[in-house]
């Protein structure tokens, strides 16, 4: 339409295309290597398109699924319980703080804000959880510490503040309790914000690795990220020792070790990729709103 801006637009498209290709490159390579035959990797190295196609790596993993299934189960437990409870805790406190007639709102806001600036650091928290709460090797140690994150509380408060005060007041005149106005007015009206928050929580619980490394050392309790982290050693064990972790004898020469690692990566990331490519719109919208407002 406008010839004067055409070169600029072409340049913009070019730069963005290049950047997007760079974003995609490692993902495509991972997928490709996971589908490549072991011998072909030795000969050609990694390639964008598998030189010789094979599903051996996936077959091998699916043969001995225990590690993977344990990981999925643990992560799923963390995500489901964590997100539900955290959403409840966070939304309750945010709702109270958003109510202008709540006379302790200011004090509690300050109480929460202080923790955004000062933190005890890793060691006292570690001692608290391991020695005083005794949560070593318990999944709860990966769930509760993420509850009531100040940033999320304040983010949600902004949304609750937009619920018309008149609505709450008229409901109260009709005899609704605070619980009722929270549950039947504020929550339904803030569904998009809650969805965004739920997505943020799901993502961070699913990707949780740090606390897991600190508090979990029983391999049956490993969340999926720890399983992934130990893939290298898993693969090397097969290669060097000739046993897989469950003690079965394997012949190292017919194990496509390298592809197994990449196949495992694909398997662990697929569900998330799948879910988030559908829900991304929500996520992006909520994140930008929060960023601009918060």
């Amino acid at each position: 339409m406008n010839t004067r801006t055409l070169p600029i637009r072409l340049l913009a498209h070019g730069c963005l295309l290049l950047f997007c290709c760079i974003c995609l490159l490692p993902m495509v390579l991972t997928l490709s290597v996971s589908l490549t035959e072991g011998a072909a990797i030795q000969r050609y190295g990694y390639a964008l398109i598998p030189p010789s196609f094979s599903l051996d790596a996936y077959a091998f993993i699916l043969d001995d699924m225990k590690t993977l299934i344990d990981g999925y189960r643990n992560s799923l437990l963390i995500v489901v319980f964590g997100t539900t409870l955290n959403l409840l805790v966070t939304s309750m406190v945010s709702y109270s703080l958003a109510r202008r007639d709540f006379r302790f709102g200011k004090a509690i806001s300050v109480y929460i804000f202080v923790t955004m600036i000062f933190s005890g650091g890793l060691v006292p928290t570690y001692i608290l959880i391991v020695q005083y709460l005794g949560w070593k090797n318990m999944l709860i140690a990966l769930i509760v510490p993420a509850f009531a994150a100040p940033f999320q509380i304040f983010l949600l408060r902004v949304f609750f503040q937009e619920v018309p005060q008149a609505l709450t007041e008229s409901a109260k005149i009709d005899g609704a309790s605070d619980w009722r106005t929270y549950w039947s007015i504020a929550l339904p009206l803030s569904r998009p914000a809650l969805a965004t928050l739920a997505l943020m929580m799901t993502l961070s619980y699913w990707n949780e690795t740090f606390n897991a490394m600190l508090f979990i050392d029983k391999s049956s309790l490993f969340p999926i990220q720890l399983v992934l982290k130990n893939i290298q050693s898993y693969v090397e064990m097969i290669r060097n020792v000739g046993f897989d972790p469950s003690g079965n004898l394997v012949d190292p020469s017919d194990v496509p070790t390298e592809s197994i690692m990449y196949a495992m990566m694909v398997l662990t990331s697929l569900p998330v990729m799948f879910i988030f490519s559908f829900l991304q719109k929500y996520f992006v919208k909520g994140m930008t709103l929060g960023a601009v407002k918060g």
């Binding site: 963005l16 974003c23 490692p26 890793l122 060691v123 994140m287």
Partner: protein, 337 residues
């Protein structure tokens, strides 16, 4: 304030009963205040109850560990507990700062983080400006979605994916370099490469999100401004320079202040999982967070880790106040608080 009011009132009322002194003005005001807030608490009890789980959680997980900070000034013996262990002044700090690691780790933390902050700022703002030039809705959506993908990956996965590029034998970048120079590019044993790799990975993962923040800010610009500029004969580049960039400036400053305030808190995942904790790379990739983590988990050195954490928090606070001050000196509007 509330708590002190209450104790004053208790003292006040008991004084009244035993000594029969007339209550002073302060005591009456204090008693009045307690009664008032007591009434409020009763009226707002449902709302108070709703805050309870969060308040308790924060008390246990954020305030209790604050007391635990004293461990940094103690010779911690697990058997005696945190409070029972003997004090040892600043010995734990001395132990860290006199070690040969201190300089290397501080240099890595501050140097790499500064590099990352600057690089991310430039790339994110440029991408946002480029995205703003795209008028085709479908293309725009596609670009944004693709750029956002890496944001969803965990650092563990990111680190493993990077091996497709950097693996010594088969990685495509390693092969490319080998073909071009004839020498082997040993990314996982030669630390100096990582001065470049780490910021690049950080950009790869974060740009989708950070450019989105700037992009949505750009959406807020009044389109008339651009039309007026065009009529006055401004080129596209001039419009960017004199309309878009000044508009983004406050957000850029704000996010940079926050980032600088956290400069001693490196993103643990980036520095631990992306170089895959290879000890040959420590000269460049070891930062405060990974150092503290290893001191705690590998050596069980609680006190030194705590001392380093305290140092981190303290410097962070000073930095955030300092950068905020500087930003305000530059322009009153730019301060964060």
């Amino acid at each position: 304030m509330k708590a002190s009011g209450r104790t004053e009132a208790i003292v006040g009322s008991s004084g009244l009963a035993t000594r029969v002194n007339p209550p002073t003005g302060v005591q009456i005001v204090a008693a009045e205040r307690v009664r008032k807030w007591g009434k409020y608490a009763k009226e707002d009890r449902h709302l108070l109850l709703m805050t309870l789980p969060a308040v308790v959680k924060i008390l246990i997980f954020s305030y209790l560990p604050l007391i635990g900070i004293v461990i940094a000034f103690k010779d911690y013996v697990p058997r005696l507990g945190i409070l029972g262990s003997p004090w040892n002044g600043l010995e734990n700090f001395e132990f860290f700062f006199k070690s040969s690691d201190a300089w290397r780790i501080l240099r890595n933390t501050i140097g790499l983080n500064a590099l990352i902050i600057a690089a991310e700022l430039v790339v994110a703002v440029s991408m946002a400006l480029l995205l703003y030039e795209i008028s085709n809705r479908k293309a725009l959506k596609a670009y944004q979605s693709i750029m956002f993908f890496p944001y969803f990956f965990s650092w563990v996965l990111t680190g493993l994916m990077l091996t497709t590029l950097l693996n010594p034998n088969n990685g495509i970048v390693s092969r490319l370099i080998e073909d071009m120079t004839g020498r082997e590019a040993a990314f996982y044993s030669e630390p100096w490469y990582w001065i470049v790799i780490l910021p690049l990975v950080s950009i790869w993962k974060g740009t989708g999100f950070s450019s989105l923040i700037y992009y949505s800010a750009l959406m807020g610009i009044d389109k008339d401004l651009f039309e007026a500029a065009e009529i006055d004969g401004a080129t596209k580049l001039q419009a960017m320079r004199f309309i878009s960039l000044p508009f983004l400036m406050p957000i850029m400053v704000m996010l940079t202040i926050l980032a600088v305030g956290h400069i001693l808190r490196a993103d643990f995942g980036l520095f631990y999982f992306v170089p895959r904790n290879v000890s040959a790379l420590y000269p460049v990739t070891d930062v405060l967070d990974t150092y503290v983590f290893r001191a705690l988990t590998v050596n069980g050195n609680f006190t030194m880790s705590a001392a380093v954490s305290v140092f981190q928090s303290f410097v962070g606070l000073v930095l955030i106040l300092g950068t905020n001050r500087l930003a305000k000196m530059y322009d009153k509007e730019y301060g964060l608080f």
